[in-house]
Amino acid sequence: MSYQKKEDIGAMLLPLLKEHGVDFLPFVPDAGHASLIELAFDDPHIQPIVLTTEEEGVALACGHWLGGKKSALLMQSSGVGNTVNMLSLISSCNFPFVALVTMRGNFGEFNSWQVPMGRATPDVLKAMGIQVYVVERDDELPKVVDAALYSAFSSDQGVAVLLSQNLIGRKEW
């Protein structure tokens, strides 16, 4: 069985991203982001961009900002490991940066191979100077993502919002 699609997450996040003027959504897909990606492909005001690896999205977001546009990177926690050196761009240049990270390897994970990177995700981000906000419940999600977008784009901060498996649901096997 596959993930149940979390329709409500996409419907909750898309208006918020547009309200903050986010133009691009670079992504390496995750089932937890599926509804948001799908809605964004149907929206003329926000452009999803498929990546081959998450580190591309970090450099791409910096390029967008250099050209005056905003992006938010969508990925799952395993992808955080792929971004590490590229995150030095955020620290070295104080680029605004927002990543929405769906968690694997926590809260009821069946696939134990996902656990090591899931466990390391917050520490890896913090070690690279990225602030970490964690969301466990649906009703906290808009407030936390709003705070992340505001902090990043109002004063050049790097913020990752971790969406717990408690929120997005675990993958059923």
């Binding site: 450099a59 910096c62 390029g63 250099l66 030095s88 761009l89 104080n94 109002s154």
Partner: protein, 190 residues
């Protein structure tokens, strides 16, 4: 064989208002050696990211020409970027690789392009509108005549001599490099 600094000087002569993003190491020094300008964004790190920074600028500013100038090692580390650019097809982006077949900054170890890997073929197969391997002065001239006509994305792997010209170092201050580049688009720090 073409020399990297001659190629960079020619590119600089033809650039007009183009923004240039340079990959870390020799490409950054080469670009700086042609004369510093706010239209340059030099990478000092983030290996594998130059093409994506360029794609970002090109997508954000579709009416401006954007050039990525990098080396074969840096391009190989971000080789998936070619696929991502191929899907987006920004007409205003050119990726130019100074391909000497070596990792020049670390002791001249042979890279993949020194063996069997053909970057231009990878770019062509990824959906670049134009993708060439350039070995002669004449091929370089004709590429440079065409590369700013907004019919990209275009790609050139320019085969250059294995040499290490004197370093020409831009400032290291990333915040300043970011802000001055943004000012060329009339964007100001908040």
């Amino acid at each position: 064989m073409l020399k990297r600094r001659d190629v960079t000087a020619k590119l600089n002569d033809m650039r007009g208002e183009s923004r240039i993003i340079s990959g870390l190491g020799s490409s950054t020094y080469d670009l700086h050696s042609t004369g510093d300008t706010d239209h340059n964004f030099y990478l000092w790190g983030a290996m594998g990211g130059a093409a994506m920074v360029g794609l970002g600028v090109a997508m954000a500013q579709p009416d401006s020409n954007v050039i990525v100038l990098t080396g074969d090692g840096e391009m190989l580390m971000g080789i998936g970027c070619l696929a991502t650019i191929g899907v987006q097809k920004p007409a205003n982006l050119s990726v130019i690789v100074l391909d000497n077949g070596y990792f020049g900054e670390t002791g001249m170890q042979a890279s993949h392009t020194n063996s069997c890997v053909d970057l231009a073929k990878i770019a062509a197969a990824s959906g670049f509108k134009r993708a060439e391997t350039i070995k002669t002065e004449q091929e370089l001239e004709s590429f440079l005549q065409l590369f700013q006509d907004a019919s990209g994305p275009s790609f050139a792997a320019i085969k250059v001599e294995q040499e290490a010209p004197p370093r020409s170092l831009p400032i290291l201050d990333g915040v300043e490099l970011k802000n001055r580049f943004r000012r060329t688009f009339n964007l100001f720090p908040k």
